[in-house]
Symmetry: C2
Subunit: 280 residues, 2 copies
């Protein structure tokens, strides 16, 4: 594994907002991710917090609009924002926003033609941390947190629950919590993993709550004016599963908030603080 | 003057990020602007702070990426982000980024074909406040501040200096301070106002420092890695003029920062605080 290439860097809140590209072995494509290095990075090791984005997004949406740099500078956290899928003219695609490019759903696809490139689960959990280790000498990978929005909230929940020794803190904004039971998830998991629903459960936070649990706490913020709340997100399915499994979930229904970055940025400081308290 | 039409609203930091459109008499086109209403707006009158954007931008750039909502919610300020020019298929345009659509330079054009629509000075100073007064009953127009970025910093400086009874606080990010002496300004002022440079001085902050002064203070942040620093911005011209005219300017050269929204957002909180302290 070699280091990623620094493409661009902006001074930001006393630290550095960076953009990197590397050739991914998992996806077979170049992959771009952003890194925020807080001012503390120049002094010593800092914890690493991964932000997984939602449908259609790449590194740039949350990096430009999420407002994480100020809180991360205050708390001394490194923020990593990867892409949501491989992205190249050479990878197979469908003409819809909720599958294939921009919609990797953080799984390793088993079905043709997707299985060759759509390996976002292994990319996020293994390849990206290894690349980062070569790239960021002062990143402390013994202290990692993960959060995300919508499809990325699904990714954060499922990735953390399946890898509890890798991630010490977990939160989400308006996550897809039960993909097996909602249209976005059913289409994507069938496409990537095939029709046998038994193979979907490893990628369903509500199923994982019962199957593997989570022995730390979880913060979820969800707007009650989110257009996707009833059909795609359904946080009540996850909160019921957490209650049954004795998982310490704080689910905050935020009155008036929708699914946008105006919602995410409003609660970004709370989430950064949540992770910082658990990673320091 | 009638109220503007509310097109969209997002909950944001306990307040409301709104988007309005109205038919402008000055520009002869529909004009769109954003309004942030802090939570305090629902309780009583709040001061109004105008943010004027730079070349190519409309309301959305700073509204999505500037990070003003959190500080404005804390301080109880209303933030208004107008467009940078009329914007319609019917208005004359040139195929360049620094003149005509997206580049109104906050002047009232006198030259054909621009004079019919490019009336951003009168739009910002007179029509927009009148429309807002009909639209936002709890906005306190006796307490107004103004700031902006690059071309919008030029707009903020020149508009405030020419209307000191209307604006009680003033700041800028990387402003064009001497358009008469730099290529962006020379092209635009010649196009809008004609070749007689005597008619440009009312729209040049450095000339206005000597001509009319400013009896309050001014905050300017400028990145020292800004690609436009030497050729287009040249803050030293303005600081010399302020010194000669006894104007209380705080010019902060920020090491490593460029011209981007990563720069603006890094110092947004300082600027919001600056205005709040002077408007409360």
């Amino acid at each position: 594994m070699t280091a990623a290439t620094l493409d661009k860097e902006w001074a930001s809140f006393g630290g550095r907002q960076q953009l990197y590209t590397h050739q991914s072995e998992e996806t077979g494509t170049p992959m771009t991710f952003s890194v925020y290095l807080p001012p503390q990075y120049d002094v010593g090791p800092c914890p690493v917090l991964y932000y997984l984005s939602g449908l259609t997004c790449n590194w740039e949406n949350v990096t430009a609009k999420g407002g994480f740099q100020g809180p991360a500078a205050r708390e001394g956290l490194i923020i990593i924002a990867p892409d949501t899928s491989p992205r190249s003219d050479d990878v197979p695609n469908e003409d819809r926003y909720d599958f294939a490019i921009g919609a990797g759903f953080y799984v390793d696809a088993t079905e043709t033609p997707w299985s060759k490139n759509y390996r976002m689960y292994s990319y996020i959990t293994h390849e990206l941390p290894a690349v980062l280790a070569k790239t960021l000498p002062n990143a402390d990978f013994s202290r990692q947190g993960i959060f995300g929005h919508s499809m990325g909230g699904h990714g954060a929940l499922t990735i953390a629950m399946r890898n509890p020794s890798s991630y010490q803190s977990l939160s989400a904004f308006a996550p897809i919590v039960a993909p097996i039971q909602v249209p976005w998830g059913q289409y994507a998991l069938k496409g990537y993993l095939g029709p046998d629903q038994n193979r979907w459960a490893d990628h369903d936070a509500t199923a994982l709550a019962n199957a593997v649990g989570w022995d730390r706490d979880i913060l979820i913020d969800q707007g009650d004016s989110d257009d996707f709340l009833e059909k795609e997100l359904r946080p009540g399915l996850f909160s019921a599963a957490c209650e049954a499994a004795n998982i310490d979930l704080t689910l905050r229904m935020q009155p008036g908030y929708d699914h946008s970055y105006y919602f995410i940025s409003s609660f970004m400081d709370d989430h950064i603080r949540w992770h910082a308290e658990r990673l320091k």
